[in-house]
Symmetry: C2
Amino acid sequence: MPDVEILLVGDQARIEPLVERIAPTAERIGFFHCTEVVAMDEKAARSLRSKPDSSMKRCAELVAEGRAQAMVSAGNTGAQVAVSSLIMGLIPTVSRPGIAVNFPGRHGSVTTVDVGANIYCRPQHLFEYGIMGSVYQRYVEGKENPRVGLLSIGSERSKGTELVKETIALFEASNLNFVGNVEGNAMLTGVCDVLACDGFAGNIMLKTSEGVCEMLLERILHSIDDLRLADRPAVAAVIRKALSAYDYSAYGGAPLFGIKGVSIICHGRSNALAITNAIRAGADFARHKVIQHITEELERNKALLDPAGLEN
Amino acid sequence: MPDVEILLVGDQARIEPLVERIAPTAERIGFFHCTEVVAMDEKAARSLRSKPDSSMKRCAELVAEGRAQAMVSAGNTGAQVAVSSLIMGLIPTVSRPGIAVNFPGRHGSVTTVDVGANIYCRPQHLFEYGIMGSVYQRYVEGKENPRVGLLSIGSERSKGTELVKETIALFEASNLNFVGNVEGNAMLTGVCDVLACDGFAGNIMLKTSEGVCEMLLERILHSIDDLRLADRPAVAAVIRKALSAYDYSAYGGAPLFGIKGVSIICHGRSNALAITNAIRAGADFARHKVIQHITEELERNKALLDPAGLEN
């Protein structure tokens, strides 16, 4: 990524020697010193008040001030959502931010929002997630008319919760390419490019996928051992590679949708590849002016968004 | 299953020739003739009223009258839940029936209830699912003190919906071996034997697992093609077998918990193996007197179950 500059935010005295040891000749790497850090289990609201010089907060400020075009963190997710919302600010007309994960579907990625930021959704929130996911798929993934689905437990209109049924009406009245209710399996096998869901259901989808992959890898590798293949290492490598695409959380970053700045959330156990992918996601998000397009698209659907402005 | 007799319920003139063609010498197969059938997309309540001689209804009646010890169907799930509840009746103190699926976890099966019968759960319902799953694991799977988890989006008490938080108190006050909040990945990797969840979240877990398996099978087989292995067929067979354990819906039957008779629900696309497994599940359920044990265990926790009897 020759056009990307990295600013490392944290305790410079601790970070700089590490960078020098690993990449002494690295260019385009800068430092922004700060003295505090938000712990992984800390309450988001409390850390914002009590730690004015935390790396999490400073990162968000750098984006809000235009000194950085994107923030990437593998720290406390709740705190990242909070600082991004409060310091960068919400896009006008967005009620609640949502975390987006790109699931590897049969016909390319499926942008799924929300996977954990907002567990009490209203129809308005799901509708906004669909709009934002659609913009992302159009401008970042290059899909001309992204198909938007709504997560439910059956493809029929009559299936699902009241929340699902009320949300259908909003999508149908919009300019989106709405394909109706979509189940977890259909999403992966390719019926939509965007999936709107509440944060509880979305998070369960994400974690279940991770668990299934982990267990399958174990079982398959174990079964292959019994075969006593000469080329077992090659087979195992191929299988690991195929499965790695489903380890979303460790694989790359999840953009936070609905914020006036770019904020990419990484899993706490991210490896170097995951952080690299997250940086790329942040750069893509900024380069394709996703936030500007989201703002315009929300504006186009303004009549359907809460007219009284009471929704939040 | 030498101790199992099968009674085929439906249009005898159509079924009998099929049985004669496939298994002309088959013993222990009988017929119960009826003239109507509930269609897959029919409304459950309507079919009960308008089709008094449907195979679905007759099946439930045979169990209610003690002429069969279990019912197995791959028909309309909603109709099966309705006839089982209305004709066999609910166990006293059970508020809502729940569909149980045995997920293949690292340390044996994990009985997960509910996966789609009850999408609006109250704490009471989830608590009952935990009790019933625990009885099933003890008497059918032989686990002495089954570990019961509650599906959520984090293992911490503070994570999850109000429903989850209120349910924790019931489990903690009970005699169950409650292990707390469990995420979809942790369930599969072995932290619990029973998982209580609402039918929306449970169904999403189930469908997502199916989708991940389907996609992984495609990807892995495709990757293996590129290797040009001499023993590709053997490798492919091993991988298909490892993945098949996760195709829950096609693999076997899901018991309906909370009913005074045994009712095993199969996926509409069940193959011969799935139906065989479902028959075995029904026989096990009856043989181990699971319903009697569930009734006794609910009785033991009666003080925690809705005291006013207003819950339903």
